[in-house]
C-alpha cells in the first residue's frame, strides 16, 4: 500500500491546467528514470546523470516523496481533475500572484481540492463573477451600473 495520500491541493496549484503540468512533470521524471535504469543495465552511461524531481514537487510535497508516491500522486491528480468541483472566477484584470493565491485559499478553506479557474473580462469593469456548476453569482461593477442597453436606446430615441 502506498504511504502517500494527498490531503489536498496546495494553494499554488489553482486549476486543472496546473495539475496537468504536474502530471507532465511526473511522466517526464519517470521517463528519465527508466532511461537511466536501462542505460545502467546495458553498461552504457546515460546522458541523464541524475534524476531530480521537479522543484515544484519538492516545494509542494516535500523532499521525502518517493517514486512510488509520485505514481500515487499522479493517480490522485487525475482523479481530482475528473471529479473535483470547479469554481470559475471572472475578474476585470489579471490578479497578482498573491491575490490569486488568496482567492484559491479562500475556496480551499471550503474544499481542499476545489479547482479555481480564473478568467479575465474587462467588460465587467470590476468586482467578480463566481460561477459554480449550479449557479452564477454576479458581483461585477457592470451589473450594478444604472445604464444598460435598453436605457441607452431609450435615451437615443428621445434625442
Amino acid at each position: 500500500m502506498p504511504n502517500f495520500k494527498l490531503k489536498g491541493l496546495p494553494k499554488q496549484v489553482a486549476n486543472s491546467a496546473q495539475i496537468y503540468q504536474i502530471i507532465s512533470y511526473i511522466d517526464n521524471s519517470y521517463s528519465n528514470k527508466r532511461s537511466i535504469e536501462a542505460s545502467n543495465r546495458a553498461g552504457v552511461k546515460s546522458h541523464i546523470e541524475k534524476i531530480e524531481l521537479p522543484e515544484i514537487m519538492q516545494h509542494f510535497f516535500g523532499e521525502k516523496i518517493s517514486w512510488e508516491d509520485l505514481g500515487n500522486l499522479k493517480q490522485e491528480l487525475v482523479e481530482i481533475i475528473k471529479t473535483a468541483p470547479v469554481v470559475t472566477l471572472t475578474l476585470s484584470s489579471i490578479p497578482s500572484s498573491s491575490l490569486r493565491t488568496k482567492f484559491v485559499a479562500w475556496f480551499r478553506a471550503i474544499s481542499p481540492i476545489v479547482l479555481v479557474e480564473i478568467i479575465v473580462d474587462e467588460s465587467i469593469m470590476g468586482g467578480v463573477i463566481v460561477k459554480t456548476e449550479r449557479r452564477k453569482l454576479d458581483f461585477s461593477i457592470s451589473s450594478v451600473l444604472p445604464l444598460g442597453k435598453k436605457s441607452f436606446k431609450e435615451i437615443i430615441d428621445n434625442v
Binding site: P85, S93, L99, S123, V130, R135, L137, F152
Partner: protein, 204 residues
Amino acid sequence: MSISDTSNSNIYQWIITLLVIAIVLFIVLIIAHKDSKRLNKHQRPAVKAETHVNSIQLKKASEEALNKATEQMISSYKINFERQLNQNMNLLNKTFKDNVSSATIEFQKSLQDFQIKSKTMTEEAQAQIVKATDLAEQQMQDIAKSKKDALIHKVDSSLNNILVGYLNNSLEGTIDLNDQQDYIFEKLEKNKSLIIEDITNAKF
C-alpha cells in the same frame, strides 16, 4: 332679298314711268301738231302765232316735266340707294357684331378653358411638388432612422467597451484588483453559504 335685287326692281319701275311720260308727251305733241295743221289751213296768222307760242310753252313744260321726273327718279333712286346702303350697312354691322360677338364668346370660352386647364396644371404641379416633398421627407426620415438604428446597434454592440473605456479614462486606471479586494471578499463572505452548498454538493 338682296341689295342688287332691290336696286334692279326700282330701276325697272322708273324706266316704265319714263316710258309712260314719254308716250303721253308723244300723244300730246301729235294732237298739237294736228291742231297746228288745222289752224294753218283755217285760222288767221295771229292764231297761228299763238299756237306756236303754245307749242313752245308746251314743249318747255314737257321738258320741265321730263327734267322734274328725271330729278325725282334720281332723288328716289338716291333715297332708295341710301336706304339700301343703310340696310346693307346695318346688315354688315349686325353681321360684324355677330361675328365679333361669336369671336368674343369663343375667345372667352377659350380663355375659360385655358384658365381651367391652367388651374388644373397648377394643381397637378402643386400635387407633384407636395408628393415629391413628402417622398423627400420620407427618405430623409428613413435615412435618419437608418443612421439612428446603426448608431444604436454600434453602441449596443460595443457598449461594454465604451463604458469600460469611459470609466478607465475617468479613473485613469486607478481601479486595481488589489483595491477591489475588500469589495470582492465581502461579497464572497456574504454568499459563502451558497458557494459552500454548490461546492460540497458537487459531484466528487
